[in-house]
């Protein structure tokens, strides 16, 4: 039984499709990565799932519900929470207010789905405790990323979407975030991870889809990570050689 099921998806900006017939699925308790070079359509995919851009053709299903007719803000109620590229936090508001908003709307839109409360995400990100009253825009990039993940978790999603959570962060911070993703996987959260770095994706995901110019061009099945990462031709063809450091 899959949580997310996308078939033949076309979506884009101003009526011009960027995605051409994308199909992918995320199973329950599964962590799936989407990898691809810049401009391959990864973020467009996230925005279409979240309803920030219209679906031009095809279908996005969450469980047994088609998302097409559901307004973006109500998709939270269907069990999606996304950390968008660039995080899109409320920079002028305090960490506390950012989290409080997510907790309040999560409780309103998903009554009975309570998995995380502020205390629990506080345990996941211990630094939050001391920074609750800081304006989010004054935090470091890594801290902001953690607030963004905490905010998404407070929406109590069935599916957590993370769009490039490692971009622009110091290696040490990336490790911290990866550790949190690992813990979420253990807890049974279904995850869709958008990532450019193949090494990180391999570490955090059971399997992956490789995207190029708006299409899924390759699938990496469970257990095939090492084969893929050793295949220079594939790496160069799809990722421009940007495979990231081996780990």
């Amino acid at each position: 039984m899959s949580v997310l099921d996308i078939t033949n998806l076309e979506a884009g900006y101003g009526g011009m499709p960027v995605l051409h017939g994308v199909a992918l699925s995320v199973g329950r308790n599964e962590s799936v990565a989407v990898i691809g070079a810049n401009g391959s359509g990864k973020s467009t995919l996230v925005r279409a799932i979240c309803g920030l851009i219209p679906i031009l053709a095809g279908e996005v299903r969450l469980g047994d519900v088609s998302l097409q007719a559901i307004p973006a803000h109500l998709r939270v109620g269907r069990g999606i929470a996304a950390v968008l590229e660039g995080r899109h936090l409320f920079g002028e508001l305090s960490v506390r207010d950012n989290l409080r908003l997510a907790a309040a709307h999560g409780a309103r839109l998903r009554p009975g789905a309570r998995r995380f409360d502020v205390a629990q995400v506080g345990a996941l990100f211990p630094f939050l405790g001391g920074r609750m009253d800081s304006a989010v825009e004054l935090l470091s990039g890594g801290e902001q990323q953690m607030v963004a993940i905490a905010r998404a978790l407070l929406l109590n999603p069935d599916l957590l979407i993370l769009d490039e959570p490692s971009t622009g962060l110091a290696p040490k911070v990336v490790r911290e975030i990866m550790a949190v993703i690992a813990r979420l996987r253990e807890s049974g959260m279904s995850i869709l991870l958008i990532e450019q770095n193949v090494a990180l994706a391999a570490e955090c995901a059971d399997r992956a889809y490789v995207m190029a110019v708006g299409r899924v061009v390759h699938e990496i099945h469970a257990g095939q990570w090492s084969t893929f990462r050793q295949d220079e031709t594939l790496l160069r063809a799809y990722l421009g050689g940007a495979a990231g450091p081996a780990s």
Partner: protein, 295 residues
Amino acid sequence: MDLTLLLQSALAGLTNGFVYALIGLGLSVIFRGTRIINAMQGEFALIGGMASYVLLESLGVALPVAALGGAVLGGITGVLVEAVLVRPMRRRGASEESYLLLTLGVAFAISAAVLYFFGRDARLLPGIGGEASALFFDAAIRVHAIWLIVIASAVMALLWLFYHRTVVGLSMMAASVDEQGATTVGINVPLMRTLTFLLGGLVGGLAGVLVSPLITIHYEMGLLLTLKGFAAAILGGLANPFGAVVGGVTLGLVESGAVLYFASGYKDVVSMVILIVIMIVMPNGMLGRGARKGG
């Protein structure tokens, strides 16, 4: 300088200042929430004042109810303008300047409608405490003016609490800070914009109700109030609603101080000159950018 005269002018300035502050507050609430400069903020006051007058004089409703009715009608007007005019324009990708033109057009339309239906007569609402005045040392102040300051202050405090302590208020701020972030948290951003206009209209309507015992209600009152409120909001930094309060009171005090030195006809000249100077010297308002946090 005669101390009593100075005090008298300060009290008058304070009263006017709170009126400017209320208009500026409404303008700033709408700007903060929607990035629209609402050129019809003064018209909310005209509608609020006129509605209270009609409720009171023609329908015989009690003054507090009539006052409330005026404010509510201001709010309803705000919602209608947003839902019927602003929203379709936004859907078609209108630019920021076109909203200024829109609200300016609506302002003229409302002014003309009031002229058509109510004529050129100036009307006056009875104040709280009637015509009575209180003595403050040797200077006199209308009892109503004291109430105006008290009520306006209470509204400002309530608005602050609303924005900082309630989920709806925080959601409205969040929607204005980051529309997409707000949407992915489950906030209905278009609804927050409508609520923003509701709040702006309520505050504007209330300003009209409060000021109408002091200055007369007539069809041309809106534009001047908008200008003064705009000056107040700009002085305080347009994106910070509570800056408008500081700006409004400052503007009121400077204006009334100027009257001590210049003929009173030059009052508006003085306030507009200050506006221009402030915009050149301090483009982020008197409080600067730092004070905008969470405002």
